[in-house]
Every structure is written in C-alpha cells, then in structure tokens.
Amino acid sequence: MTKTSFSRRNVLAGLGATAGLLAAPHIASAQASAGRVVVIGGGFGGATAARYVKLFSPDTDVVLVERDATYITCPFSNYVLAGIRDLNSITHRRDPLRQRFGVRLVRGEATAVDTNARSVKLKDGASLPYDRLVVAPGIELNYAGVPGWSEQAANTVMPHAWKAGPQTVLLRKQLEAMADGGTVIIAPPANPFRCPPGPYERVSMIAWYLKNHKPKSKILVLDAKDAFSKQGLFMAGWESQYPGMITWIAGKDGGKVESVDPKGMTVTAGFGKEKGAVINVIPPQTAGRIALDAGLAEANGWCAVDPASFASRKAQNVYVLGDASIAGAMPKSGTAANSQAKVVAANIAASLRGVTAPTAVYHNTCYSLVTPDYGISVSDTYRPGPQGVAVVPNSGGVSPARAEAAQRKAEANYTMGWYAGIIADTFG
C-alpha cells in the first residue's frame, strides 16, 4: 500500500473542512504547485479530462483551449433532424468548468505543438507551456474522400451533419423542404469513424420524421461497409416501425459510394446511379487537424496510444484521447471519450506526483433511438490488454433481440437520462 503525502495537502484539506471552499480553485490556480496541464479541445474527452485533473489534483493548473464558445453535441443531433429536439437543447457552455472546478478557459485555436519545448502555439501567436498535454481534437472530415464532393458542397447541398451545428440545421431544413415521396440518401463511411451507430440512428430518426410528415418518402442507405453497429436490432426496428420505407445496401452489394454530383443531386455507387431529394454524405475521417500537424498520428490518420493510460506513442508527456485515438475495441463515442479522460486524468495526477496510477478500466454505452419510445443499446467494459484496449470477456453486449415494448421504452427513457448525466459529468 503506497500513500504519498503532498506538501500542500494539509493546507487544502484544512480549507476543505470549512465552508470557504469557493476560494480553493483560485488558490490552487495561483500557486500551481503540481504542474501545468494544457488540454486541447473542449468536447466530451477534453472537457472531462480538464475537470477530472482538477478533481484528482486540485492544485494543478489546468488550461482548456477551445476554438468555439459553445459545444453542440453530436449525440442527440439526430433528434434535431427528427424534430423532437431543438439545437438549443444540445448546446452547452463550458463556464461551469471554470466557475466550479477552477479550469482556466482559453478561447483560441491550437495550431502547433512543440513536444520538445513542451509548448502549444495558438493561432493568435500566444504560447502555452505545459508539463502534461492532453490532445482531444475529435475528428477531421476528409472532403476529398468522396469524389465529386467538397466542403462547399457540404455547406450548400450535400451536408455531412457529422459535426453538429449549422450542418445539422441545413440537413433539417432540407428534410422540411422536401416533397412527400422524395428519396433521402444517406451514405455512411467505412470503419473507423465517429459514432458507429450514429448513421443508423439517423436513418431511424429521419424515418420517424418522414413517417409522421411525409409518409410516401423513402430512405436509401448506401453503405461502404458490409455490417454495422447494432445491425440486427436496427433492422428489426426498421421492419417493425417503418415497414417498406428503408433500403440498406451493403458495400459488397454495390452500396459503396464511388462519386457524387452535387449539381445533379445524384450518387453513383457500385450498383449504379441514384437521384436523391436530400443527400447526406458522411465522409471518411481522421484525427483532428492539430493531432496530425503535431505529428501524433500514424499513417492511417489516427493516434496510437498506450492502452493503459492513453499516453501518446509518438510523444512524451502527451495524451491523446477520444475520437482521435486508436482505442482498440472501444468505439469513437462521447461516452468512450469521457471514460478515457478519467483514466488520463488519473495518470496525469499520478505522474505529476511521481506515483503509480490506478489500474485503468473503461466503459462505453451507446444508446440509440429507433423511435422516441424505442431505445436500444450497446454497452461494454474494457481493460487494457497486450493488443490494445479489449472488452472484458463474457461481459457487455447489445440489447436483447426480442424484448417487450416496455424494455424498449425503458431504454428510451435511459437514453434521456444518459444524456443529462454525461453533460453534467463532462461540463459541470
């Protein structure tokens, strides 16, 4: 049993015993006796890491660098498309991280990392020194990965809506403007990509909207893959809830998109050319730009990490987590990023103290709605292993294939609870 005493422990513990705790984060920030941590990216991974470093090591100076003033979550953005949520309800501020936990928030864009000098350069020219760096930039969309498509096409006629915000609004408006009887084409990418069940929940939620407002319409899913997350559950749900509305074509059956024509609003796949009233292109992805520019990524565009800590394989004192990382069996999801961030925070707190970190355990739960009252899930527990992060044997898995309506309804209710919970856990 190892216990390490810290020099300021008694001071802060004493403060902790009083009602005057409001000042504690500021005291910790000013004295900064346990090093400086810079976090790039304020999404589920980065924000959680910043918060939990302060929780595990209050006298560490934590700086969170984020370009955008607010965070619009990709989780639940499919419900905006369905018309059962609005954008405001999935838009969150990070102020509680500063107010409640003492994280310093810096609005800016990280443009370079000097891992030798241990410093992050911002677009405005400022430099932020660090003892430990957390890189959590999410994904970069590969516009060139779909011939004929472009950022300009995405912003005008063929949205990706894979980063929630204006693109989500654009896709929703297109669905609202579409005539009853039109075809919505959704083109998911090959693995790996952000949120493996996301495209198929999107199919479900657009089907929900069409069923209730434009029931003659169809959805055509042109997939680069031959299988997808929770496939059996989704397809059974589509058959029971939206009979005849949805056609999914696997990559091996000609579903893989070869090119798109934004002017003609057509998609050419292995089986031929198809015209869409609305076309949602979900492109191939890589780790976020700063991870690539900082030299943290492998040739495949994603960042290799130690499965026990999410420390970068490419640079010392740097951790990469969330969508940008290669996380073994873990999917690229908000819950996975939140879970990885807690392990990263514990490892940072331990390394700054010069002690051994706790053993890593990770979780992921992804809920998806087939209808607002029909929820399904995949949930797994993971441990680090010799081949990377691996599922604990004989645990986890998906919702049962056969279930009463009450169970589907319960999972839909839990979907709402999960969202409220992870927002509170991540942003305070």
Binding site: S57, K342, V361, S379, G421
Partner: protein, 102 residues
C-alpha cells in the same frame, strides 16, 4: 495494491454561496477510478439523474446484492447486467463499499 495515490480532499462548490454541493475523493485508487464511470448515467453527489436510480450513499450491502443479482440475471435489467459482468464479485463489493461512502 489497493491504494496508490493519496489525493487531497476535494470539495467542489457550486457558485451559489448558499447551495453548497461537495464531491470528495479522499483517495484515488483502482476502485475510486472505476467508480467515476457510474457518474455518466447515475450522477454524482452533486447531480442526480432524472431517469436513473441514485447509487451514491446507498447502503453497501443493498448495492452489492443488487449488483450480484444483476450479474447473475436474478434481477431484470436493461444494461446493468451486461456492465456488472465486467467485474469480479470482489470488485463489485469494493465498488458498492466505495459508492456507499462517496
């Protein structure tokens, strides 16, 4: 080695001076780290989920019994059976003890 880092007693205080919510992690060890995963769905000391049962501060025996029954399918569940099978009985006992006190 159950205890590896001794962490400062932490109190997190909401900005409203009168409404004080505290979250304490006296010691960060394997169990304390593992327990943080529960926050995502069940909430923490300072946040209660609108749809999930609270688990913080619940009697340790009650929690452990529930986790074992979920693990062995004696108690119906949506996802907690799947999750609890990711832990040994000893780990579930430690988690129940931790959650009952934190």
């Amino acid at each position: 080695m159950p205890f590896r880092i001794h962490i400062l007693a932490v109190a997190l205080v909401l900005t409203a001076g009168s409404a004080v919510a505290q979250q304490r992690i006296a010691t960060l060890d394997d169990t304390a780290l593992a327990a943080q995963a529960c926050n995502v769905c069940h909430g923490s000391q300072s946040y209660l989920s609108p749809t999930m049962p609270p688990i913080r501060g619940v009697d340790a025996t009650t929690l452990y019994t529930a986790l074992i029954e979920l693990k062995t399918d004696k108690r119906p569940s949506t996802i907690m059976g799947r999750i609890s099978r990711g832990y040994s009985d000893e780990q579930l006992k430690a988690l129940a003890d931790y959650l009952s006190k934190n």
